[in-house]
Amino acid sequence: MGIFDRKDDPPKAKPDFSNVQSGSSSTASAPTVPTGTTGTTTTSSGGTYVVVKGDSLSKIAKREYGDAAKWRRIYEANKDIIKDPDLIYPGQTLKIPGA
């Protein structure tokens, strides 16, 4: 067998990182939001959040708790105004339970 018979190695598949789970937390407090703007005002016992365009419960959970999987905690606290956890609307004020 000559060198011209050598076949190229099949291309290696790129690793898939789509299911990586991540989170964060801090000893520092979260910034407070000035009156009249949207966002979160959180205290150790919880706070409120005004939904903005593009938000989802998991996005809010990731921002608030550092873990998107905790969206259900926000959903449970707001069942009176959220009928479908996949549907939240800009301008809605959600209660954010303490971490």
Partner: protein, 142 residues
């Protein structure tokens, strides 16, 4: 000044300027936002209650949860810390952002895990503060 001496002086000045231009940017601890700076970035498999790393290491197993602990000093009403995790081929593994309002020394942790295990290889986490790189750490999954 003799011509040779003058030429030597010019050479020394040019070399100094060249060295200054080639020097590395400030390492972790030098950056960044007014009022707040990152003083330490550590990696490990576990966290203490104060969010510092319990077991500093740069070598992990595929099933590990990988923690990066970022110590900041100073105070600010709004500072944004970002951890960008990348694989050896440049692929982004994850990006997490945390906004903080520190009043003095604070520790912020970022972590990643992968249910089916991380591929073996070399990784890097880059921590930035308000958009400016504040520290990087290389690590390996074996």
């Amino acid at each position: 000044m003799p011509v040779r001496t003058r030429a030597l002086a010019v050479f020394v000045i040019v070399m100094n300027l060249a060295l200054a231009a080639c020097s590395k940017p400030a390492p972790a601890g030098g950056a960044t936002a007014p009022g707040v700076r990152v003083t330490e970035v550590d990696l490990g498999r576990s966290l203490n209650a104060d969010k510092t790393i319990g077991d500093n290491t740069d070598s992990f197993r595929p099933a590990d949860t990988i923690y990066a602990s970022v110590v900041t000093e100073g105070s600010a009403s709004n500072a944004t810390l970002k951890a960008r995790w990348t694989y050896q081929d440049g692929q982004t593994v994850d990006e997490s952002v945390r906004t903080i309002a520190p009043a003095g020394k604070a520790t912020t942790e970022f972590h990643i895990s992968k249910p089916d295990g991380f591929p073996t290889g070399k990784y890097k986490v880059e921590v930035s503060l308000d958009g400016a790189t504040a520290g990087t750490k290389d690590f390996e999954v074996k």
